[in-house]
Amino acid sequence: MLHRQLFLLCCLVLSTGCSIQPWVQPYERANLADPIMSFSRDPVSSAYLKHVYEARELARGGEGSSGGGCGCN
Protein backbone atom coordinates (compact mmCIF):
# COMPACT_ATOMS: atom_id res chain seq x y z
CA MET A 1 0.00 0.00 0.00
CA LEU A 2 2.81 2.36 0.93
CA HIS A 3 4.59 1.60 -2.33
CA ARG A 4 1.43 2.38 -4.29
CA GLN A 5 1.01 5.70 -2.52
CA LEU A 6 4.64 6.62 -3.14
CA PHE A 7 4.30 5.61 -6.77
CA LEU A 8 1.22 7.78 -7.23
CA LEU A 9 3.03 10.66 -5.50
CA CYS A 10 5.98 10.29 -7.92
CA CYS A 11 3.58 10.25 -10.88
CA LEU A 12 1.89 13.38 -9.54
CA VAL A 13 5.21 15.20 -9.10
CA LEU A 14 6.43 14.16 -12.53
CA SER A 15 3.11 15.03 -14.17
CA THR A 16 3.26 18.45 -12.53
CA GLY A 17 6.67 18.79 -14.15
CA CYS A 18 4.99 18.71 -17.57
CA SER A 19 3.54 22.13 -16.93
CA ILE A 20 6.70 23.68 -15.44
CA GLN A 21 8.21 26.25 -17.75
CA PRO A 22 12.01 26.30 -17.98
CA TRP A 23 13.20 29.11 -15.71
CA VAL A 24 16.44 29.44 -17.68
CA GLN A 25 15.63 30.06 -21.32
CA PRO A 26 17.84 28.65 -24.09
CA TYR A 27 19.19 32.12 -24.92
CA GLU A 28 20.28 32.50 -21.26
CA ARG A 29 22.49 29.41 -21.25
CA ALA A 30 25.73 30.82 -22.65
CA ASN A 31 27.46 30.60 -19.27
CA LEU A 32 26.34 27.01 -18.76
CA ALA A 33 27.54 26.07 -22.25
CA ASP A 34 31.07 27.34 -21.58
CA PRO A 35 33.51 24.38 -21.39
CA ILE A 36 34.82 25.55 -18.01
CA MET A 37 31.36 24.75 -16.58
CA SER A 38 31.70 21.06 -17.40
CA PHE A 39 31.81 18.74 -14.38
CA SER A 40 34.43 16.70 -16.23
CA ARG A 41 36.16 18.81 -18.87
CA ASP A 42 38.73 16.11 -19.66
CA PRO A 43 37.26 12.62 -19.06
CA VAL A 44 40.59 10.82 -19.58
CA SER A 45 42.15 12.82 -16.73
CA SER A 46 39.23 12.69 -14.31
CA ALA A 47 38.88 8.92 -14.86
CA TYR A 48 42.56 8.47 -13.99
CA LEU A 49 42.32 10.51 -10.78
CA LYS A 50 39.19 8.60 -9.79
CA HIS A 51 41.13 5.35 -10.25
CA VAL A 52 44.02 6.66 -8.12
CA TYR A 53 41.69 7.42 -5.23
CA GLU A 54 39.61 4.24 -5.48
CA ALA A 55 42.78 2.11 -5.30
CA ARG A 56 43.76 3.70 -1.98
CA GLU A 57 40.47 4.54 -0.30
CA LEU A 58 37.57 2.29 0.64
CA ALA A 59 34.92 4.80 -0.43
CA ARG A 60 33.60 4.20 -3.91
CA GLY A 61 30.86 5.53 -6.16
CA GLY A 62 28.44 8.40 -5.80
CA GLU A 63 30.52 10.79 -7.84
CA GLY A 64 28.62 10.38 -11.11
CA SER A 65 29.85 10.29 -14.63
CA SER A 66 30.81 13.02 -16.99
CA GLY A 67 28.59 15.06 -19.23
CA GLY A 68 24.97 16.01 -19.42
CA GLY A 69 22.77 18.50 -17.76
CA CYS A 70 24.02 21.89 -18.85
CA GLY A 71 20.86 22.42 -20.87
CA CYS A 72 22.92 24.11 -23.56
CA ASN A 73 21.92 22.14 -26.64
Partner: protein, 392 residues
Protein backbone atom coordinates in the same frame (compact mmCIF):
# COMPACT_ATOMS: atom_id res chain seq x y z
CA UNK B 1 12.55 9.69 -7.08
CA UNK B 2 11.84 6.57 -9.10
CA UNK B 3 13.92 4.38 -6.82
CA UNK B 4 11.03 3.90 -4.43
CA UNK B 5 9.03 2.11 -7.07
CA UNK B 6 9.71 -1.49 -6.33
CA UNK B 7 7.60 -3.62 -8.58
CA UNK B 8 8.30 -4.33 -12.25
CA UNK B 9 4.96 -2.85 -13.24
CA UNK B 10 5.64 0.40 -11.43
CA UNK B 11 9.18 0.61 -12.84
CA UNK B 12 7.90 0.10 -16.38
CA UNK B 13 5.18 2.69 -15.96
CA UNK B 14 7.57 5.19 -14.43
CA UNK B 15 10.09 4.68 -17.25
CA UNK B 16 7.36 5.28 -19.83
CA UNK B 17 6.40 8.45 -17.98
CA UNK B 18 10.00 9.66 -17.90
CA UNK B 19 10.44 8.94 -21.60
CA UNK B 20 7.23 10.81 -22.36
CA UNK B 21 8.43 13.75 -20.31
CA UNK B 22 11.74 13.79 -22.14
CA UNK B 23 10.41 13.22 -25.62
CA UNK B 24 9.97 16.83 -26.65
CA UNK B 25 13.62 17.93 -26.55
CA UNK B 26 16.71 16.52 -28.22
CA UNK B 27 19.70 15.41 -26.16
CA UNK B 28 23.30 15.80 -27.26
CA UNK B 29 25.93 13.13 -27.69
CA UNK B 30 29.45 13.64 -26.27
CA UNK B 31 31.92 15.48 -28.49
CA UNK B 32 34.15 13.65 -30.94
CA UNK B 33 37.62 13.83 -29.43
CA UNK B 34 40.82 11.89 -28.84
CA UNK B 35 43.03 12.11 -25.75
CA UNK B 36 46.51 10.72 -25.25
CA UNK B 37 47.58 10.82 -21.60
CA UNK B 38 50.76 9.84 -19.78
CA UNK B 39 50.32 9.34 -16.05
CA UNK B 40 52.78 8.93 -13.21
CA UNK B 41 52.20 8.13 -9.53
CA UNK B 42 55.10 8.09 -7.06
CA UNK B 43 54.49 7.60 -3.36
CA UNK B 44 54.82 5.17 -0.46
CA UNK B 45 57.48 3.13 -2.29
CA UNK B 46 55.22 2.56 -5.30
CA UNK B 47 55.83 3.95 -8.77
CA UNK B 48 53.09 3.56 -11.38
CA UNK B 49 53.17 5.05 -14.85
CA UNK B 50 51.81 4.42 -18.30
CA UNK B 51 49.60 5.72 -21.09
CA UNK B 52 45.86 6.10 -21.45
CA UNK B 53 44.39 6.59 -24.92
CA UNK B 54 40.72 7.56 -25.26
CA UNK B 55 39.10 7.98 -28.67
CA UNK B 56 35.46 8.87 -29.29
CA UNK B 57 33.66 9.24 -32.62
CA UNK B 58 30.00 9.54 -33.52
CA UNK B 59 27.69 10.43 -36.38
CA UNK B 60 26.41 13.60 -34.62
CA UNK B 61 22.79 12.44 -34.74
CA UNK B 62 22.25 8.99 -33.28
CA UNK B 63 25.33 7.27 -31.86
CA UNK B 64 28.83 7.78 -30.51
CA UNK B 65 31.34 4.99 -29.94
CA UNK B 66 34.46 5.15 -27.79
CA UNK B 67 37.46 3.04 -26.88
CA UNK B 68 40.01 3.42 -24.10
CA UNK B 69 43.34 1.64 -23.67
CA UNK B 70 44.96 2.13 -20.27
CA UNK B 71 48.22 0.76 -18.87
CA UNK B 72 49.74 0.69 -15.37
CA UNK B 73 53.44 -0.20 -15.18
CA UNK B 74 54.02 -0.86 -11.49
CA UNK B 75 57.21 -1.01 -9.46
CA UNK B 76 56.46 -1.66 -5.82
CA UNK B 77 58.51 -1.68 -2.65
CA UNK B 78 55.62 -0.52 -0.49
CA UNK B 79 55.52 -0.73 3.30
CA UNK B 80 53.44 -3.93 2.92
CA UNK B 81 56.21 -5.51 0.84
CA UNK B 82 59.06 -4.32 3.06
CA UNK B 83 57.40 -5.19 6.37
CA UNK B 84 57.18 -8.84 5.33
CA UNK B 85 60.77 -8.92 4.13
CA UNK B 86 59.78 -9.40 0.49
CA UNK B 87 61.72 -7.79 -2.34
CA UNK B 88 60.65 -5.10 -4.79
CA UNK B 89 58.54 -6.39 -7.65
CA UNK B 90 57.31 -5.13 -11.00
CA UNK B 91 54.07 -5.91 -12.75
CA UNK B 92 51.82 -4.62 -15.48
CA UNK B 93 48.08 -4.02 -15.75
CA UNK B 94 46.29 -3.37 -19.02
CA UNK B 95 42.68 -2.26 -19.31
CA UNK B 96 40.51 -1.90 -22.39
CA UNK B 97 37.06 -0.35 -22.54
CA UNK B 98 34.74 -0.11 -25.52
CA UNK B 99 31.32 1.48 -25.46
CA UNK B 100 28.50 3.08 -27.38
CA UNK B 101 26.04 5.85 -26.62
CA UNK B 102 22.80 5.72 -28.56
CA UNK B 103 20.69 8.87 -28.82
CA UNK B 104 16.93 8.79 -29.19
CA UNK B 105 15.07 12.05 -28.71
CA UNK B 106 15.99 13.35 -25.28
CA UNK B 107 17.36 10.02 -24.05
CA UNK B 108 20.79 8.45 -24.33
CA UNK B 109 21.26 4.73 -23.84
CA UNK B 110 24.83 3.75 -22.97
CA UNK B 111 26.51 0.37 -23.09
CA UNK B 112 30.17 -0.40 -22.34
CA UNK B 113 32.44 -3.29 -21.49
CA UNK B 114 35.78 -3.22 -19.67
CA UNK B 115 38.48 -5.85 -19.40
CA UNK B 116 41.39 -5.48 -16.99
CA UNK B 117 44.23 -7.99 -16.87
CA UNK B 118 47.35 -8.40 -14.77
CA UNK B 119 49.34 -11.49 -13.94
CA UNK B 120 47.28 -12.32 -10.83
CA UNK B 121 43.95 -10.56 -11.45
CA UNK B 122 41.53 -10.57 -14.39
CA UNK B 123 38.36 -8.46 -14.26
CA UNK B 124 35.45 -8.09 -16.68
CA UNK B 125 32.73 -5.50 -16.26
CA UNK B 126 29.66 -4.52 -18.29
CA UNK B 127 27.75 -1.30 -17.79
CA UNK B 128 24.38 -0.19 -19.09
CA UNK B 129 23.02 3.29 -18.47
CA UNK B 130 20.11 5.52 -19.43
CA UNK B 131 19.99 9.32 -19.16
CA UNK B 132 17.08 11.56 -20.03
CA UNK B 133 16.83 15.33 -20.33
CA UNK B 134 13.57 16.93 -19.27
CA UNK B 135 11.99 20.21 -18.18
CA UNK B 136 13.28 22.07 -21.20
CA UNK B 137 16.74 20.63 -20.85
CA UNK B 138 17.25 21.91 -17.31
CA UNK B 139 17.11 18.47 -15.70
CA UNK B 140 18.91 15.25 -16.54
CA UNK B 141 17.96 12.03 -14.78
CA UNK B 142 20.29 9.08 -15.18
CA UNK B 143 20.39 5.52 -13.98
CA UNK B 144 22.93 2.79 -14.48
CA UNK B 145 23.74 -0.80 -13.70
CA UNK B 146 27.10 -2.58 -13.86
CA UNK B 147 28.01 -6.17 -13.36
CA UNK B 148 31.59 -7.27 -12.81
CA UNK B 149 33.31 -10.60 -12.52
CA UNK B 150 36.85 -10.98 -11.17
CA UNK B 151 39.25 -13.93 -11.26
CA UNK B 152 41.83 -13.73 -8.49
CA UNK B 153 45.14 -15.59 -8.61
CA UNK B 154 48.30 -15.63 -6.52
CA UNK B 155 51.83 -15.53 -7.80
CA UNK B 156 54.50 -17.76 -6.34
CA UNK B 157 58.12 -18.48 -7.17
CA UNK B 158 59.13 -21.79 -8.71
CA UNK B 159 62.86 -22.17 -9.35
CA UNK B 160 63.20 -18.39 -9.04
CA UNK B 161 60.51 -17.69 -11.63
CA UNK B 162 57.19 -16.05 -10.69
CA UNK B 163 54.25 -18.18 -11.81
CA UNK B 164 50.58 -18.46 -10.85
CA UNK B 165 50.09 -20.71 -7.83
CA UNK B 166 48.28 -23.74 -9.34
CA UNK B 167 46.57 -24.36 -5.99
CA UNK B 168 44.96 -20.91 -5.75
CA UNK B 169 42.13 -19.55 -7.91
CA UNK B 170 39.23 -17.50 -6.54
CA UNK B 171 36.37 -15.43 -7.92
CA UNK B 172 34.36 -12.36 -6.99
CA UNK B 173 31.18 -10.83 -8.41
CA UNK B 174 30.13 -7.20 -8.23
CA UNK B 175 26.89 -5.35 -8.97
CA UNK B 176 26.60 -1.58 -9.08
CA UNK B 177 23.38 0.45 -9.14
CA UNK B 178 23.50 4.18 -9.90
CA UNK B 179 20.94 6.96 -9.85
CA UNK B 180 21.78 10.54 -10.75
CA UNK B 181 20.21 13.95 -11.15
CA UNK B 182 21.80 16.96 -12.82
CA UNK B 183 19.87 20.19 -12.40
CA UNK B 184 20.34 23.68 -13.82
CA UNK B 185 19.47 26.00 -10.94
CA UNK B 186 20.18 29.39 -12.48
CA UNK B 187 21.80 30.64 -15.68
CA UNK B 188 25.17 30.40 -13.88
CA UNK B 189 24.71 27.53 -11.43
CA UNK B 190 24.39 23.79 -12.03
CA UNK B 191 24.10 20.97 -9.51
CA UNK B 192 24.55 17.20 -9.68
CA UNK B 193 23.49 14.60 -7.12
CA UNK B 194 24.43 10.93 -7.43
CA UNK B 195 23.60 7.85 -5.40
CA UNK B 196 25.38 4.55 -5.90
CA UNK B 197 25.21 1.21 -4.16
CA UNK B 198 27.63 -1.64 -4.79
CA UNK B 199 27.43 -5.26 -3.69
CA UNK B 200 30.40 -7.64 -3.75
CA UNK B 201 30.36 -11.35 -3.25
CA UNK B 202 33.25 -13.80 -3.35
CA UNK B 203 36.94 -13.59 -2.55
CA UNK B 204 37.53 -10.00 -1.45
CA UNK B 205 40.91 -10.48 0.27
CA UNK B 206 44.26 -9.37 -0.98
CA UNK B 207 45.94 -12.80 -1.15
CA UNK B 208 49.36 -11.42 -0.17
CA UNK B 209 48.50 -9.27 2.83
CA UNK B 210 48.96 -10.56 6.36
CA UNK B 211 47.89 -9.45 9.80
CA UNK B 212 50.35 -9.29 12.65
CA UNK B 213 49.75 -10.60 16.14
CA UNK B 214 51.58 -10.60 19.42
CA UNK B 215 53.76 -13.68 19.31
CA UNK B 216 55.32 -13.55 22.76
CA UNK B 217 56.39 -9.93 22.43
CA UNK B 218 57.46 -10.22 18.78
CA UNK B 219 55.57 -9.92 15.52
CA UNK B 220 53.79 -13.03 14.31
CA UNK B 221 52.08 -13.04 10.92
CA UNK B 222 48.99 -14.74 9.54
CA UNK B 223 47.18 -14.46 6.17
CA UNK B 224 44.19 -12.11 6.33
CA UNK B 225 40.61 -13.32 6.25
CA UNK B 226 37.89 -10.97 4.94
CA UNK B 227 34.13 -11.49 4.84
CA UNK B 228 32.88 -12.85 1.51
CA UNK B 229 30.27 -10.13 1.02
CA UNK B 230 30.27 -6.35 1.11
CA UNK B 231 27.59 -3.77 0.38
CA UNK B 232 28.28 -0.07 0.19
CA UNK B 233 26.26 3.10 -0.36
CA UNK B 234 27.50 6.50 -1.44
CA UNK B 235 25.74 9.83 -1.94
CA UNK B 236 27.57 12.67 -3.62
CA UNK B 237 26.70 16.21 -4.67
CA UNK B 238 28.44 18.86 -6.76
CA UNK B 239 27.79 22.51 -7.43
CA UNK B 240 29.47 24.50 -10.20
CA UNK B 241 29.08 28.25 -10.54
CA UNK B 242 30.05 30.55 -13.41
CA UNK B 243 31.72 33.75 -12.25
CA UNK B 244 30.99 36.98 -14.18
CA UNK B 245 34.57 37.38 -15.43
CA UNK B 246 34.53 33.93 -17.14
CA UNK B 247 35.86 31.76 -14.38
CA UNK B 248 34.22 28.87 -12.52
CA UNK B 249 34.20 27.65 -8.95
CA UNK B 250 33.01 24.25 -7.78
CA UNK B 251 32.39 22.47 -4.50
CA UNK B 252 31.59 18.81 -4.07
CA UNK B 253 31.05 16.38 -1.22
CA UNK B 254 30.32 12.73 -0.65
CA UNK B 255 29.26 10.56 2.26
CA UNK B 256 29.89 6.82 2.21
CA UNK B 257 29.20 3.79 4.36
CA UNK B 258 29.46 0.03 4.01
CA UNK B 259 28.52 -3.03 6.04
CA UNK B 260 32.15 -3.58 7.04
CA UNK B 261 31.69 -0.65 9.42
CA UNK B 262 33.53 1.87 7.27
CA UNK B 263 32.22 5.41 6.98
CA UNK B 264 33.94 8.02 4.85
CA UNK B 265 33.51 11.66 3.95
CA UNK B 266 35.29 13.69 1.32
CA UNK B 267 34.91 17.17 -0.07
CA UNK B 268 36.58 19.23 -2.75
CA UNK B 269 36.87 22.86 -3.67
CA UNK B 270 38.06 23.93 -7.11
CA UNK B 271 38.56 27.04 -9.17
CA UNK B 272 39.05 27.43 -12.95
CA UNK B 273 40.52 30.61 -14.36
CA UNK B 274 41.13 31.31 -18.07
CA UNK B 275 44.28 33.36 -18.71
CA UNK B 276 44.01 35.18 -22.01
CA UNK B 277 42.61 33.37 -25.02
CA UNK B 278 44.65 30.17 -24.82
CA UNK B 279 45.33 29.19 -21.20
CA UNK B 280 43.10 27.76 -18.45
CA UNK B 281 44.40 27.27 -14.93
CA UNK B 282 42.57 24.91 -12.55
CA UNK B 283 43.16 24.62 -8.79
CA UNK B 284 41.66 21.95 -6.55
CA UNK B 285 41.81 21.11 -2.87
CA UNK B 286 40.40 17.81 -1.62
CA UNK B 287 40.14 16.26 1.84
CA UNK B 288 39.13 12.66 2.62
CA UNK B 289 38.74 10.72 5.85
CA UNK B 290 37.46 7.26 6.72
CA UNK B 291 36.96 5.07 9.77
CA UNK B 292 38.40 1.55 9.93
CA UNK B 293 36.61 -1.69 9.15
CA UNK B 294 35.16 -3.61 12.10
CA UNK B 295 37.62 -6.48 11.62
CA UNK B 296 40.71 -4.28 11.20
CA UNK B 297 43.40 -4.11 13.86
CA UNK B 298 47.01 -3.03 13.63
CA UNK B 299 48.07 -5.68 16.15
CA UNK B 300 46.05 -8.72 17.17
CA UNK B 301 46.52 -10.32 20.57
CA UNK B 302 46.83 -13.82 19.11
CA UNK B 303 46.32 -15.71 15.84
CA UNK B 304 42.72 -16.48 14.82
CA UNK B 305 41.53 -13.96 17.38
CA UNK B 306 38.24 -13.40 15.55
CA UNK B 307 36.33 -14.74 12.55
CA UNK B 308 37.57 -12.02 10.19
CA UNK B 309 40.85 -10.17 10.53
CA UNK B 310 42.72 -7.68 8.38
CA UNK B 311 45.63 -5.27 8.56
CA UNK B 312 45.33 -3.63 5.13
CA UNK B 313 46.15 0.03 5.59
CA UNK B 314 43.29 0.75 3.17
CA UNK B 315 40.94 -0.68 5.84
CA UNK B 316 42.40 1.43 8.66
CA UNK B 317 41.29 4.85 9.89
CA UNK B 318 43.09 7.51 7.90
CA UNK B 319 42.77 10.82 6.15
CA UNK B 320 44.39 12.40 3.15
CA UNK B 321 44.66 15.85 1.65
CA UNK B 322 45.21 16.69 -2.01
CA UNK B 323 46.31 19.93 -3.62
CA UNK B 324 46.31 19.93 -7.38
CA UNK B 325 46.74 22.21 -10.36
CA UNK B 326 46.14 21.79 -14.10
CA UNK B 327 47.40 24.11 -16.82
CA UNK B 328 45.73 23.74 -20.23
CA UNK B 329 46.96 25.39 -23.40
CA UNK B 330 44.36 25.52 -26.16
CA UNK B 331 45.57 25.86 -29.73
CA UNK B 332 44.30 25.46 -33.30
CA UNK B 333 41.17 27.17 -32.02
CA UNK B 334 40.20 28.15 -35.56
CA UNK B 335 40.57 24.59 -36.83
CA UNK B 336 43.13 22.89 -39.06
CA UNK B 337 42.21 20.22 -41.55
CA UNK B 338 39.81 17.82 -39.87
CA UNK B 339 40.81 19.11 -36.42
CA UNK B 340 38.45 21.62 -34.84
CA UNK B 341 40.69 22.50 -31.89
CA UNK B 342 43.35 21.03 -29.64
CA UNK B 343 44.80 21.39 -26.16
CA UNK B 344 47.99 20.39 -24.36
CA UNK B 345 47.64 19.85 -20.63
CA UNK B 346 49.88 19.42 -17.60
CA UNK B 347 48.48 18.35 -14.26
CA UNK B 348 50.13 17.89 -10.87
CA UNK B 349 48.58 16.66 -7.62
CA UNK B 350 50.25 16.07 -4.26
CA UNK B 351 48.45 13.79 -1.80
CA UNK B 352 49.42 13.47 1.88
CA UNK B 353 48.20 10.35 3.72
CA UNK B 354 48.06 10.25 7.53
CA UNK B 355 47.18 6.90 9.13
CA UNK B 356 45.60 6.88 12.57
CA UNK B 357 45.95 3.20 13.52
CA UNK B 358 48.38 1.68 11.02
CA UNK B 359 51.93 1.57 12.32
CA UNK B 360 55.23 1.49 10.47
CA UNK B 361 56.70 -1.86 11.55
CA UNK B 362 59.69 -1.81 9.20
CA UNK B 363 62.91 -2.37 11.12
CA UNK B 364 64.80 0.79 11.99
CA UNK B 365 68.50 0.07 12.68
CA UNK B 366 68.76 3.14 14.93
CA UNK B 367 65.62 2.82 17.05
CA UNK B 368 63.92 -0.11 18.76
CA UNK B 369 60.21 0.15 19.52
CA UNK B 370 58.04 -1.90 21.82
CA UNK B 371 55.43 -4.01 20.04
CA UNK B 372 52.43 -1.87 19.20
CA UNK B 373 54.25 1.39 19.91
CA UNK B 374 55.87 1.87 16.50
CA UNK B 375 55.35 5.25 14.81
CA UNK B 376 52.15 5.75 12.86
CA UNK B 377 52.62 5.51 9.11
CA UNK B 378 52.34 8.46 6.74
CA UNK B 379 53.50 9.25 3.23
CA UNK B 380 53.05 11.68 0.38
CA UNK B 381 52.45 10.88 -3.28
CA UNK B 382 53.14 12.92 -6.41
CA UNK B 383 50.76 12.49 -9.33
CA UNK B 384 51.69 13.89 -12.73
CA UNK B 385 49.65 13.86 -15.94
CA UNK B 386 50.54 15.10 -19.43
CA UNK B 387 47.87 14.83 -22.06
CA UNK B 388 47.08 16.03 -25.55
CA UNK B 389 43.45 16.40 -26.65
CA UNK B 390 42.10 16.80 -30.16
CA UNK B 391 38.52 17.65 -31.14
CA UNK B 392 37.40 16.80 -34.68
Amino acid sequence: MVVVVVTKRYVLTALLLLIQLSATHAAVLPEDRADALYHSYDGGGIEISGPSILVRKGDDTSFSVFANHYVDNITSASIDVEALGASQYTENREEQTVGIDYLHGKSILSLSHTNSAENDYVAESTHVGLSMDMLGGLTTVSMGFSRGSDDVFRMTRVDGVKVRDPNFAEQAERRTYQLGLTQVLTKSLVMAVNFETVTDEGYLNNPYRQVRYNNGGANGFQVENYPNTRTSRALGAQLRYFLPYRAAVHVSGRVFEDDWGVTAVNSEFGYSQPLGDHLILDFRYRVYSQTHADFYRDLFDRPDQQNYYARDKELSSFSNTTMGVTLSYEFIKQGWGFIDKASANFSYDRVSFEYENFRDIREDPDVSYNLGEEPLYSFTADIVQFYLSLWY
